[in-house]
Amino acid sequence: MIKDITIGQYIPADTPVHNLDPRSKIIITFVFITALFLVNTFFGYIYILAFMGIALGLSKISPKYLFRGLKPLVFIIVLTAILNIFMTEGEIIYKLWKLTITKEGLIQAAFMCIRLVFLITGASLLTLTTSPIALTDGIEKLLNPFKKIGVPAHELAMMMTIALRFIPTLLEETDKIMKAQMARGADFESGNMIARAKAMVPLLVPLFISAFRRADELAMAMEARCYRGGDKRTRMKQLKFEMRDIYASIITIAFGGLIIWSRF
């Protein structure tokens, strides 16, 4: 069952969005999110929609993948809507016992839900078009300037790369351990919440010990190949800013300008 979970929803393709430098994509995503929080009218969302539309069109990602990312969050979106509808004070439209629905509440709920949907789909577009390895490469490069103040950029990126490499392995292992413990009579599904929480311990301990054994072996293998940290390390794929990154930046700056302009 665990195997059904796809991690890193990366969909490889050869499109202008996929081929952008991961650094540009990370920065653009941050600008997009900031812009999203700057929007203060429904009209402003038109620009957001247009920007998303351009990015989505160029990336040739089917919108169905974007909406798939929303599924696990339906609960939180609905909760947001309900809380906003009932908790906002204003002109009362409908009253049921102590619950009141206000006009402002409905507007606020719609506004928050739209923001949330854009937030999630915008972030998924980054992970859908960027492989996890490219993403960590980009993060390492972006963190480089902070090395001077003691941020261990290379080490963090290396940890991320190793961790990403081991997640599928450990997922398989979790599945095996669960089955093995179930064969010994472990019960992960029944009982009250405290019993179910406690049932996790026999799963975590073996997983943990096996992970540390792997860490030992990997450290030894890296040492044997003369791993000496990030200094003077060369890479197989060099990141390079190209013309398309400049075009993307121009579009993003224009988009940011429009959003700020739409506030007034």
């Binding site: 941050f30 080490e155 997922l171 919440m193 040492e223």
Partner: protein, 156 residues
């Protein structure tokens, strides 16, 4: 050797954290969401490698979680600070306190800011979930790992 072992141990702690978050994501107890992987926040008690490990694990888990960059940045920074404070705790029963309080406040605020939820209830809600993960799963985990700590965590 020590430096590489530290780095790799941290990486594997990150991998375990992310794996558990992803594998057990559907497990929630009715209204109360318990992130089982938060039980691993007891690890700084055994090894300082858990501080960057939990941080990176939380970044990865939140990237896949889909909460967006705000969740990725603030959630992970909260975990980093909490892990450091747990590492500084000298008494065993105090170790789960920082992740409970810091996440309760920070994540509660993030929920309030992102989803417009009422501030105090969402903080209490997160704190309760964290308490479940850290004391009911994390604390027994700490007791079991303590028995094997010399064999597991030793930096050769």
């Amino acid at each position: 050797m020590k430096k590489t072992v530290f780095l790799v141990q941290a990486a594997l702690i990150a991998a375990v954290y992310a794996t558990i978050t992803i594998a057990l994501a559907p497990i929630s107890y009715g209204q109360l969401q318990v992130r089982v992987s938060e039980a691993l926040t007891v690890l700084p008690f055994f090894t300082p490698a858990a501080i960057p490990g939990l941080f990176v694990g939380c970044i990865i888990a939140n990237i896949f979680g889909g909460g967006g960059p705000i969740d990725i940045i603030f959630g992970s920074l909260a975990t980093l600070v909490a892990a450091y404070l747990s590492y500084k705790m000298k008494r065993k029963w105090l170790v789960p306190i920082p992740p409970i309080l810091i996440n309760g406040v920070v994540i509660g605020y993030v929920l309030h800011y992102l989803y417009g939820m009422p501030l105090i209830p969402s903080m209490l809600w997160v704190t309760l979930g964290q308490t479940m993960a850290c004391y009911i799963i994390g604390y027994p985990l700490m007791n079991v790992l303590e028995r094997y700590k010399d064999r597991i965590f030793s930096l050769r």
